[in-house]
């Protein structure tokens, strides 16, 4: 029995470790390749794992082709705008859906659910034409556009408000708060963890989104990282150290933020679930 248990425990660690190797190797290979020369990267006999000298040539070269400061800035602006819009609008709408009773609420909520069930590609052509008609292609507003409001976030916050006890609100009202004050001072602060979850979810989605930025912002200096990487590959298909250096530069900020706030990230995703 004891031996059995020991074997089981060893097996479990083995499975976890083997899986981790598979998860990490692509990242390690990205790093190792980025510091090689192109000929080192494509040399087969002997196969080179570690660069003979850790060169930063690929980074310098790719940074001369892409303005990374600009790309970081564009991405950061997009993320901040999307998070602020999502959290603000969803907190308000979630409260109305979760706590108030009024005419038209169910119809409005069915629109929210409907939006969540429909594949998002169905909105893209009309959204693109709208941004074009407004003359806002290649602007940061264009990037933000589909994220001005969020059906998913509204749903998430509604669930959070529904989980709060009714007595709190009644107490606030008896104290003379109107609905707006009860929302602002009593109820909204209690949904902070859901707001954080929505914020993380929104930020991650904005960072990873590819098709919309490819469509709406085609000029280099208005693109976010994801679209710029896609364009880069089209231009320099074979220089692997450069492609890996660019990938690494694109991934590093989010990875660092993740490593610092991993608990919030993982819990945020676990509570928001959602569609990614």
């Amino acid at each position: 029995m004891d031996k059995d248990r020991k074997f089981k425990s060893v097996l479990q660690y083995f499975v976890l470790a083997a899986g981790s190797v598979v998860m990490l190797v692509p990242f390690l290979w990205m790093i190792l390749t980025a510091f090689k020369t192109a000929s080192e990267a494509t040399q087969m006999n002997p196969f080179i794992i570690f660069p003979s000298v850790w060169r930063k040539d690929a980074f310098l070269s790719v940074m001369s082709k892409m303005n990374f400061l600009r790309l970081y800035y564009n991405t950061l602006v997009l993320i901040i705008e999307r998070v602020v819009c999502a959290v603000l609008t969803a907190t308000m709408a979630g409260y109305a859906f979760g706590r108030l009773h009024f005419k038209g609420k169910n119809l409005a909520f069915s629109l929210v659910l409907f939006q969540m069930m429909v594949p998002s590609q169905i909105f893209i052509i009309p959204q693109y034409l709208m941004v074009g008609r407004l003359g806002l292609l290649n602007t940061s507003f264009g990037l933000l556009f589909p994220g001005l409001v969020t059906a998913f976030g509204t749903f998430l916050l509604r669930q959070a408000y529904m989980g709060l006890p009714a007595s709190l609100e009644e107490a606030a009202r008896l104290d003379g708060c109107n609905i707006g004050q009860a929302f602002l001072y009593v109820m909204a602060p209690l949904t902070k963890s859901s707001m954080v979850a929505l914020g993380i979810f929104t930020a991650l989605f904005a960072f990873k989104e590819l098709m919309w930025p490819l469509v709406v912002n085609t000029e280099q200096n208005t693109m976010p990282l994801s679209a710029a990487l896609a364009k880069l590959q089209g231009q320099f298909v074979t220089n692997y150290p450069e492609l890996m250096a660019a990938s690494l530069l694109a991934c590093i900020p989010m990875v660092i933020i993740y490593l610092i706030f991993q608990k919030q990230f993982i819990e945020g995703i676990a509570t928001s679930g959602g569609k990614l």
């Binding site: 479990q12 499975v15 976890l16 981790s20 998860m23 190797v25 692509p26 990242f27 290979w29 990205m30 087969m44 969803a90 308000m92 709408a93 409260y95 109305a96 859906f97 108030l100 009773h101 929210v112 939006q115 069930m117 429909v118 998002s120 590609q121 169905i122 052509i125 009309p126 693109y128 001005l148 409001v149 059906a151 509204t154 609905i179 960072f207 990873k208 590819l210 098709m211 994801s226 990487l229 896609a230 590959q233 298909v237 492609l243 890996m244 660019a246 990938s247 694109a250 991934c251 990875v255 933020i257 993740y258 991993q262 608990k263 990230f265 993982i266 995703i269 676990a270 679930g273 990614l276």
Partner: protein, 301 residues
């Protein structure tokens, strides 16, 4: 009388505040999502020339073209094949990992951090590094295969294999996400269930099938539904990994890839709209079937 007045005043105030709070979201939703759905349907009845010129009404022309278009049906089949690989494997592997992590394991948060890492990487970067790993001449994977005496594989240019290679990237990317959701579900199963099973002499495998699986079925259902919808919309990895000249592209491109190609590369937004309507129909059908089947295996007690 007085009381009625307060009630109706309160009703009125809830009505006003309610719609005030809903105003931004509902305005946005209607402009950004509801109207576009109708516009896409409308657009699908038109033939659009390049650069958005020449919007010609052709009735059901796009749909009859679509029905006869072999590449569209192939793309639908490709999308199914992709989903049939990605969804079961990403769920099964993630569930095993979550069960292990839910047991007595040291360094739980470190393992979790590692498995979740691909979730925070840009898909474009992920696709590029995998393309490099898959490279038939210089790639790490073929090198390792050769080392152990196997021959090289054309991972992304062999039409019979490329969809699996793309699905592997999908699995790798999403395992951590599924795992986190399963882990959260597992944490809600009371420990005493397992202790009771242990006393009754039920081993680990039995416990998994008689306790874990039934109790985690609601999470499983949620993950399956969302993963199937996600897999049916696969685009990023195919767009990034498959070049236009790739001989395997026809056997790998997904419906969304075709939608993007027709709508934004070739400028035929009418046909692109018809394709996305097909996607909508397929996703709705699959989701409805899953909802109907849910009674058979999902346990909500």
């Amino acid at each position: 009388m007085n009381r009625e007045k307060t009630v109706s005043r309160r009703e009125k105030s809830e009505f006003l505040w309610g719609w005030l709070f809903l105003l931004p979201t509902m305005t946005g939703l209607i402009i950004l999502n509801i109207i576009p759905i109708f516009q896409t349907i409308y657009q699908s009845f038109f033939k659009t020339g390049a650069f958005g010129k020449g919007n010609v009404f052709i009735g059901l022309g796009n749909y009859s073209k679509l029905l006869q278009d072999g590449t569209v049906w192939q793309a639908l089949w490709n999308t199914f094949k992709y989903a049939l690989v990605e969804v079961p494997f990403s769920i099964a592997i993630a569930l095993v990992l979550a069960v292990i992590l839910n047991g007595k394991i040291k360094g739980r948060s470190i393992w979790r951090t590692i498995y979740f890492l691909p979730m925070v990487a840009a898909p474009a970067a992920v696709a590029m590094v995998w393309r490099w790993l898959y490279n038939s001449e210089f790639g790490l994977i073929n090198h390792l295969l050769n080392r152990i005496g196997l021959s090289s594989v054309n991972w992304i240019s062999d039409p019979g294999i490329a969809y699996i290679s793309v699905a592997i990237v999908g699995i790798w990317s999403v395992i951590g996400y599924n795992m986190v959701l399963f882990f959260a579900g597992l944490q809600e199963i009371p420990r005493d269930y397992y202790e009771a099973a242990e006393i009754d002499g039920a081993g680990g495998v039995k416990q998994f099938f008689y306790i874990t699986l039934p109790l985690i079925s609601p999470t499983m259902f949620f993950v399956t539904v969302t993963r199937v919808i996600g897999a049916m919309q696969v685009f990023d990895s195919i767009y990034m990994m498959m070049e236009k000249s790739n001989p395997a592209l026809v056997k790998t491109q997904s419906l969304v890839y075709l939608f993007y190609k027709y709508s934004f590369v070739e400028g035929n937004k009418g046909y692109g709209s018809a394709i996305v309507m097909l996607l909508l129909l397929v996703i709705l059908l699959i989701t409805v079937i899953q909802l109907l089947c849910q009674k058979k295996w999902v346990n909500y007690n």
